[in-house]
């Protein structure tokens, strides 16, 4: 691959990405951010994080027959319950990974 092709893309991609990242932060000292805006900002995790979670789980082609290949969806539901109960990121992540491993490798033949 031509080096100038690579670096042209990388430089513009890096500058563009940084511009997006710094955009509102750069003007934060000069603008008054209203309480209304802050209230809406508090909805950003609810607005975007489920959009990472749902497709990653829903469209994943699984391998466990008795769950029709939807073991990730099944484990995700359990993980939500564990997370609500424990309120711990560490416990939630360990539980999710171990539960998925257990179902795929120990329960795959069920």
């Amino acid at each position: 691959m031509d080096a100038s092709y690579f670096w042209t893309i990388i430089i513009f991609l890096a500058l563009g990405t940084f511009s997006i990242r710094i955009s509102v932060i750069a003007i934060s000292g000069r603008i008054q951010i209203s309480d209304r805006a802050k209230e809406l900002f508090s909805y950003i995790p609810a607005a975007i994080l489920p959009a990472f979670i749902a497709p990653a789980v829903f469209f994943h082609q699984g391998q466990v027959n008795w769950l029709q290949g939807k073991e990730r969806l099944f484990v995700l539901i359990l993980t939500v319950l564990v997370s609500l109960k424990t309120r711990s990121t560490v416990v939630t992540i360990i539980f999710g990974l171990v539960a998925l491993y257990a179902i795929v490798h120990l329960g795959g033949g069920l």
Binding site: F18, S28, S42, I44, A46, A51, V80
Partner: protein
């Protein structure tokens, strides 16, 4: 010297008691399990595309956005037109605009360098962990330190994963399903932010819309889902306002 001796115990005490950098760094560690396999894939693809070491780590450090990098590598190996690769990557990264807005109130009194570093290190994971823990961060300064700590952990693990992928090939055993760490860490991070019924409604809406828009090209589904969900939040909060 007197001032030095006079002040240093106080500084030490404060650092130990309120080490928000360390708190952010530590809380980020379990979350990074989800990004290790993605870093490994990016590194492996860079090596397969015959990128030099400098090119791989240069892209990884200056762009520092996994999803956009994956798309860009794929398009570059297909010799796509320059502006198509750039535009695709930037569309994928548009979501950082939301994180920039959400971080702005915390950073408004920070210096240029802190703003610069905090902006460049913004990622889905670092913003998510910040939002999940904001109740534990009394002042803006604490929040900024927490965020930089979490972001430092993130960039460290990411660079090492890509480096390892570039050097050794795809090292993360697929049977461990470490990639599942991404959705489940987001589950753990989004739940604490759902403070009442309207947050839950927005989250469920976002999940459903993201599935419906999944096949929209250029990964536009993600930013469209976020935009529509924010519109719903605007509508919901207007209705409940006194």
């Amino acid at each position: 010297m007197l001032a030095f001796y006079g002040i240093s115990p106080k500084i030490k005490f404060n650092m130990k008691k309120n080490n928000f950098f360390g708190m952010g760094f530590g809380l980020m560690i379990p979350v990074t399990t989800g990004i290790i396999p993605f870093g490994a894939v990016v590194g492996t693809l860079c090596s397969e595309a015959k990128f030099s070491f400098t090119q791989t780590m240069g892209m990884n450090f200056f762009v520092y956005a996994g999803a956009a990098q994956l798309a860009a590598i794929d398009l570059m190996t297909k010799n796509a037109i320059v502006w198509v690769v750039i535009a695709t990557g930037l569309v994928i990264n548009l979501r950082f605009l939301l994180y920039s807005a959400a971080m702005a109130p915390y950073l408004k009194n920070s210096g240029f360098l802190v703003k610069f570093i905090s902006a460049h290190l913004l990622t889905d994971q670092s913003y998510a962990i910040m939002s999940a823990n904001q109740d534990k961060l009394p002042t803006n300064k604490d929040a900024v330190q927490f965020n930089i700590g979490a972001a430092a952990c993130m960039i460290l693990v990411w660079q090492l994963s890509v480096l390892a992928g570039y050097t050794f090939g795809n090292f993360a055993p697929p049977s461990w399903s470490l990639d599942f760490g991404v959705p489940i860490s987001f589950v753990a991070l989004v739940l604490p932010t759902l403070k009442n019924k309207s947050y839950i409604v927005v989250a469920v809406f976002s999940a459903i819309i993201s599935i419906l828009l999944y096949s929209v090209p250029m990964r536009l589904g993600l930013i469209l889902t976020a935009g529509l969900s924010i519109l719903l939040a605007i509508y919901l909060t207007r209705k409940t306002a006194p």
